[in-house]
């Protein structure tokens, strides 16, 4: 669906992403992990057309991304970022219907159709926000707001989802439900998702493909078992890790072994 060939992104004085190649496929969740400042968010922003590549190419359905209009891109690719601060009162349903803008017949005055309302209704159900649809966004909890951001992205019906640390402010159970919604969208609608995350174990649980990134370069791409190895993780994060199998799912489970833990070893 989305193919990236040797993509280079340059900020004024430095290279943020260097010759990255990556492919997002329908039905697959790809996790992008790496230390702070590795260029993960930059790469994600470039895939959405927000940053212009200094080299390489991005192909959306085999055509160069640059040839698509903004709306055409937004119909195919949707982004879930940390929510922006809201300065005007907006209800949850108004917020979620924002995702239907891409399908409006004209860019400004367009009014939501019956179909738009049906889609909004179904994504509100999907993200368990139906009961809150009339509430103001400012009245929701952090977890509910993040779900509304996801609901808005799902409302675009774009087959490619880019998620930038979607679980950063969520508690344990909401982290899992949010990623479960993404997983469900990929499985049922053959969508492709790229999730930037710091939570390696969450990635291990939900992702089909893991991409390791360090200092602007993609170090390794593969299945969770191929990529989440002590050698690769130590190389990327500069910290010793212990990798064992999750007692229930059997997927790799990563535990960092900090210096402070060493004295327990000796006891």
């Amino acid at each position: 669906m989305l193919e990236v060939h040797e993509l280079t992104i340059r900020y004024a004085d430095r290279v943020a992403v260097r010759e990255a190649s990556l492919s997002l496929q329908g039905g697959k969740v790809t996790a992008l992990i790496g230390p702070n400042g590795a260029g993960k968010s930059t790469l994600l922003r470039a895939l959405n057309g927000q940053l212009k590549p200094a080299g390489g190419s991005i192909l959306l359905n085999k055509e160069s991304l640059e040839r698509f209009s903004r709306r055409a891109i937004a119909r195919q690719i949707t982004v879930v970022a940390q929510e922006s601060e809201l300065r005007f009162p907006v209800t949850v349903i108004e917020f979620v219907l924002g995702g239907r803008f891409v399908w409006a017949n004209n860019s400004g005055w367009g009014w939501e159709s019956e179909h738009d309302l049906e889609v909004a209704e179904s994504v509100l159900a999907e993200t368990e926000l139906r009961e809150l649809s009339g509430r103001l966004m400012s009245e929701l909890s952090g977890g509910e707001r993040q779900r509304a951001v996801l609901a808005r992205a799902l409302a675009t019906e774009a087959p490619i989802l880019l998620l930038d640390e979607p679980t950063a402010n969520l508690d344990l159970s909401h982290q899992a439900t949010l990623l479960a919604s993404v997983r469900k969208r990929c499985d049922s609608k053959n969508a492709a998702a790229l999730v930037v995350t710091h939570d390696i174990n969450l990635a291990s649980e939900f992702a089909d493909v893991v991409v390791l990134m360090k200092a602007g370069e993609l170090v390794q791409t593969g299945t969770t078992r191929e990529v989440l190895t002590p050698e690769l993780l130590e190389k990327v994060f500069d910290v010793s890790v212990l990798v064992d199998a999750h007692p229930i799912s059997g997927v790799p489970r990563v535990t960092p072994v900090h210096e402070t833990l060493r004295h327990f070893e000796n006891q």
């Binding site: 300065r87 349903i93 400004g108 675009t156």
Partner: protein
């Protein structure tokens, strides 16, 4: 249909709701025009005046030549100008607020009105004989001021409401000193009328510029209303809007150009009437919600109503003398500004 689905459909802004509200507000506006035309230092017979206005001046309905002149040459042009100025400023304010994500953004407080004032004054001093140079230079002035505030207001972390208002203060004071400088180039007899004009004054209703001011107000409001759904998303943040398919730079340029045109044309004809762009959109959002598809056109009509009423007060409260209309709008607007600032 489930109850949740019903609740989604209830209370939402729809085309129908917008049309009904705008129609009701237009009826109120027409009534206000009629009533304001009857109020003034010179008493006019109510029925005959109403009859004459409703016949668009075709039928004198028993009014004398002088009374007809007062009605059609003095009062109605002034009321129509008040409506155009109010509509322009309220629309510009509502769009600036949405685009800049700042409930406090307003042409007067951002220094945009002052930019237009400097443009108008320069046109008066250097191209005094060309009437059309005034609205044009006012437009250029407000556009430059808009860009200056926008650039200054954007820090590395984006534009916070406070930073933007601070940028507005800087641009306003800078332009004020330019105004003072240009004023000293004028002869003493013109300075008083000038000071009045700067505070926002509708008494000089210029009949030749009136059709232009009205056309700009109507066309500008239509264009900005047509961008209302994009503005709804921009109100949530530029990056969100971009991600959701809004061509952010196109909408930004459109709003800057059209809002500057609105402010320019109203300042060229009536000076800087302050706070209209703050009070009116706030009122519209408070009663109708944040959806720009309904709040921008409603703000336009409410703005027209507001300035007609404020000007009627300004010209009657100490009759036969007059206050600048800007003094009345500021009297209402400044306390509201303080309230909004405190609430945040």
């Amino acid at each position: 249909m489930t109850t949740a689905l019903l609740s989604i459909r209830q209370g939402r802004v729809t085309l129908r709701k917008t049309m009904v509200w705008c129609a009701a507000l237009i009826v109120a506006l027409l009534l206000t025009v009629l009533i304001a035309a009857l109020i003034g230092s010179e008493k006019l017979p109510t029925n005959a005046s109403a009859c004459s206005i409703l016949s668009v001046g075709m039928n004198p309905c028993g009014l004398t030549r002088d009374q007809l002149d007062i009605l059609f040459q003095i009062r109605l042009p002034r009321i129509l100008l008040a409506a155009a100025v109010g509509g322009s400023l309220a629309t510009a304010g509502a769009s600036y607020q949405a685009l800049l994500r700042n409930p406090l953004a307003e042409p007067y407080l951002l220094g945009v009105s002052n930019g237009a004032a400097v443009g108008t004054m320069l046109a008066l001093v250097f191209f005094g004989t060309f009437e059309w140079s005034r609205p044009f230079m006012a437009f250029v002035g407000s556009l430059l001021a808009t860009f200056a505030v926008y650039r200054l207001g954007r820090g590395r972390v984006g534009a916070t409401p406070e930073r933007l208002i601070l940028a507005g203060v800087i641009v306003t004071t800078l332009l004020s000193s330019v105004i003072v400088f240009v004023t000293t180039l004028m002869d003493a007899t013109r300075i008083r009328s000038f000071t009045f004009w700067l505070l926002g004054d509708l008494s000089g209703a210029n009949r030749r510029l009136l059709p232009l001011t009205i056309s700009v107000a109507v066309i500008g409001t239509v264009i900005l209303t047509l961008n209302a759904r994009s503005l709804n998303l921009l109100m949530l943040g530029e990056r969100d809007a971009f991600d959701l398919g809004v061509e952010v730079s196109r909408v930004r340029i459109t709003v800057f150009l059209v809002a500057s045109l609105l402010v320019g044309s109203s300042v060229a004809s009536s000076g800087s009437v302050g706070y209209v762009g703050l009070v009116v959109p706030h009122l519209a959002r408070l009663s109708l919600g944040s959806d720009n598809r309904i709040s921008i056109p409603s703000a336009a009509i409410l703005g027209a109503l507001f300035v007609i009423i404020a000007d009627t007060v300004a010209r009657t409260i100490i009759a036969p003398r007059e206050l600048p209309v800007g003094a009345i709008t500021a009297l209402i607007g400044a306390p509201l500004f303080i309230y909004l600032l405190k609430r945040d």
